[in-house]
Symmetry: D2
Subunit: 340 residues, 4 copies
């Protein structure tokens, strides 16, 4: 069986394993205060061109979203996100669990529309009863989105401008950041993204690591005692070196971006094959997640040799997801294309 099930059904990139082997005998202090973490943070600051950034390593995405959002909200504030946002759908209520409402905007293939955001904020403050409502306190977007789509630089600038106008921090969930930055046609760089937002994270789990998300406050603007907030949310790893070593490896010599580029290349080969053969794509994704509508027979035929997710029926077709990663070999894609 060849798997296109997800970008986290593999182990970790071999360079990371090698590094774990090399460092295993070393002793290192706990909780992310070790030299590997220090080195990894410096590499991240360089890559982001944000020499003063505060950087923290957490373990997984849901945990990171809940910790960051809770750390930046007052008790009476909520987080603005699109309806399909990961925090609104697939995190078992982790945001509400820390006391905050997810305030929703329409999703456009997973993306937030700047004009709708502005209108929402205008309407909120125009409502004479807003004192009885949940105040917006932060804006959450994903890059790349859950649908595989990406924001253009202009779109992200527009959202950033509105956030500044309304004094709302902008938070970018980068669980798939590498794939977003390396996407076909992406016109946004890591330093540009860092400059436009107040906090974001560089996703490790889905981009070559075994686990780990690197939270970046680009403007030396981490909330006071963020270390303690991470601990309180159960998100502080005792052997922080595990995260430090992984990110130090990924950020070394551009490995993180090479991994993402490889996955994108394989995804684009796949996409082109689907389109050429007349299949209808469900979303216009330039990233490592491809959504395609397949009829029942095709699904059954492909299932024999390939692993992929069936999301939900669309008309009489099934919306199927094929995901690539560092672990996707070109010959795997060849095989799938041949089978189409």
């Amino acid at each position: 069986m060849i798997s296109f099930e997800s970008d986290y059904d593999n182990g970790c990139h071999e360079a990371i394993l090698k590094r774990l082997l090399m460092t295993n005998e070393d002793r290192a202090t706990g909780y992310g205060l070790d030299d590997y973490c220090i080195a990894a943070k410096e590499k991240i600051r360089n890559a982001c061109e944000t020499p003063d950034a505060d950087v923290f390593f957490l373990v997984g995405g849901t945990q990171t979203n809940a910790t960051v959002i809770d750390s930046m909200l007052a008790s009476y504030q909520g987080v603005l996100a699109v309806e399909t946002g990961h925090i609104n759908v697939h995190e078992s209520g982790a945001i509400e669990s820390s006391g905050h409402k997810v305030l929703t905007l329409p999703s456009h293939d997973g993306k937030m529309d700047a004009v709708e955001l502005e209108q929402w904020l205008h309407d909120f403050y125009a409502d004479p009863t807003y004192d009885h409502m949940v105040f917006p306190g932060i804006v959450y977007i994903t890059f790349a989105t859950e649908m595989g789509t990406i924001y253009t630089l202009a779109e992200m600038q527009a959202i950033s401008r509105i956030c500044k106008e309304y004094h709302l921090p902008l938070f970018i969930d980068g669980a798939r950041l590498g794939y977003g930055l390396m996407a076909q046609g992406s016109d946004i760089t890591l330093p540009q993204l860092a400059a436009l937002c107040d906090v974001f994270y560089i996703g490790g789990t889905k981009c070559g690591a075994y686990c780990g998300e690197a939270v970046v406050f680009p403007h030396h603007n981490a909330p006071a005692h963020f270390f303690t907030i991470v601990k309180q949310h159960g998100a502080l790893m005792a052997k922080g070196r595990l995260l430090g070593i992984q990110f130090d490896t990924l950020m070394h010599d551009g490995l993180y971006f090479k991994i993402a580029r490889h996955a994108i290349e394989q995804a684009m080969r796949l996409r082109e094959a689907f389109i050429t053969r007349g299949y209808k794509m469900y979303s216009n994704s330039p990233t490592n997640q491809q959504f395609v509508l397949l009829d029942k027979d095709t699904v059954q035929r492909l299932e024999k040799d390939f692993v992929f997710e069936q999301w939900y029926p669309v008309g009489d077709k099934m919306n199927c997801r094929f995901v690539t990663s560092w672990a996707t070999r070109p010959e795997d894609v060849d095989a799938l294309i041949a089978a189409l």
Copy 2:
């Protein structure tokens, strides 16, 4: 420098690394539903002699304590623990963060006294105003304790009996479970411990793994939808295989217990050397954490070649902690003994 700083300042046991290498090319589904996790769970059930146990893998201790305790309490209930309990001191309020009070009993070298527990419960229900107070909802003890001490089988049976009498689940924090079970003079086995409590965990992070705690509900008594509760607490690892592989390795052929036994042997050598040389031990610890009172000169002398923690002054001495683990080589202990 030779380190006795902690049992989590090392990498992971070489058998785990080897296994990670061997399995890295495999594909496995996420969230702990993979074959490594399934195999590891089965080994744990066997070791505990609890064929029906529900087993879950979480990442770290604070997270595990908060998730388990919240899952077993009603909103108006709190958790009974000794004052020095990890949840009451060193978890940044993670328990309170999920809405629950830590109700405290005196600590006796880190241990709860069964008689005092019974008295507390009796007094609570004898108080005519108890409806205005926080109800006890679960009892939390650690094994081995934060002070390195352990409960005897009789002591644990006494606590278990009182818990049953008051319909309170008993939760054992086993972050250092291996060291407790293998402690010098310990008269309690893993199956006995599993039978006496309602939930406990087998600590991986401090006993050879890079990360991971295996939560065991011995009597097939996990709260409904515990999987979702884990996710909600940000404690569900996407690449659950990382935890499965580690525990499958640790539970294979008794490796977990061998690791612990090795650490205990080295700790006992150290302990005997301290005592023989006339140093005063701060606590009577039969486990891998040794607390000894050292004068300033000795501290300064040892600090040149050894890493260890200075906890707090006791009179004109400093209470110092020396910790052993799988990574402590006999020659490290020789060196320290020579330096004493």
Copy 3:
């Protein structure tokens, strides 16, 4: 100025004031354990024809919603409500503050549609990823709704049936219960309503009392230690007699329903006058809240002598709310009709 601003801009019904005067010299124990509360609870049980009901008195609506919902949900569960539901809009996130998500369905003039509810529940459990989502744990509807509309007996039976099928308790927010039961054309009685749901409340604040909501668990099904849960939510009144006296008066000799009937009569006179004069009603409300679309000139003219709320613009008209209560005198309505 004659006020149609709200049903809580008045004092309290004179019968209540008289009763407060009569009882002021009495001594009574605190926290709702006094004889007035006991008597009021008995009258409520009689009126509901639920001899075993558990009854509690809380102070206000938001507090009651948050306390009841939190008491009946597990940590990983949310509450199903329509988008316009009070808990989703105008309670400043009180539900999320206790850790729970509000899961929303479309609003039909403030009402939930049974078919849509069933479809939502079906879809939820059909989604293979539901373990990563917020589980539905209770269904919340309002009677009468925020839009002044009411459910028919058949509609409420349909919702109740689906709740039973999915093992979800049904909670009816009765902040305006009197107006719902006495509404023009209402075909549902208090005992029928009590039989169909798992918990509801009889709103006092908006129906003649100074404050107070009577929570009824009709089937002796209050969560364990609900008294303590009320206290924990800051909703337990020290001088509970204030609530007991008010409800004992309201439930005596049908006063609660007389008050509601009076308000409905005045609202219907107003409604008929609006319609006769060609004004367009915004919603089809048979209760004490009337929503009508007025042009700017009419608004300005009426504002000189009358107080009423302007909700939001609809096209070039303003959706205006006129509310009646026990304190609305027939001559007030005459004056408004004359001014139209």
Copy 4:
């Protein structure tokens, strides 16, 4: 039966009832924005000599404590209080319910010791692991305390000075503020108290009102959107006039202080009688709560004609509480003295 059970087992002061009668026909907008509330706030500012103070009316004590403390803490901070503090014992975990730990200091007859507070704070920041602990975020004291005792001006100045030094707001629970200020030998005035703290409340429920606590931020220092925070905590009364009218009456012409002085006078008569007759007082209370040790026979004899609380046994005696209020008639005290 003559009652000394509590200071909330009565109705309300007759001046309040009279005022409720007089104003009942008036219409007033909701949520504390009415003219009665505005007038009452102005009287409070005058009495406190804090012309810029922010004043809010909440319903009861537990609710007020939870709302104020939550509004002033970051998520990772707790509240410092003595072990016997109301928030630590008798509020069913309302503080923890909003996510915060109660950090405890020893109680000295209900009072916090400034030297111990300073030592605690010094030790906290001296602990190298404090980043893993709950940070102190506010200091909570009660005046008068749960034991009937009061702070001298010098004691309160000492606490206030330490709070300022450590940048911790000082919060005074004034559920029995009147009795504290009017206590025998009290050397502190309302303006002095207001100047020394960051937030306090003037308790209405236990001092003549039916309900209501007036929260005062003396230095125009209410947290942003405190109105919304109150609403979120379910503590915003729809008919806010009920609270406004009561406080406007209590603060008119010193009624609040007259009520307290009357209660103190009766309590002191009682106290003197106890002492003269050789009874041993349990605490040295100069306020309206008197604690006295009675033997079983005396308790049984007095119970026939008087209502009072038996707190807990002390040796072979019972610690009994006798409470006076505005409703305590001199002849009631005469009767009790005669019975001793």
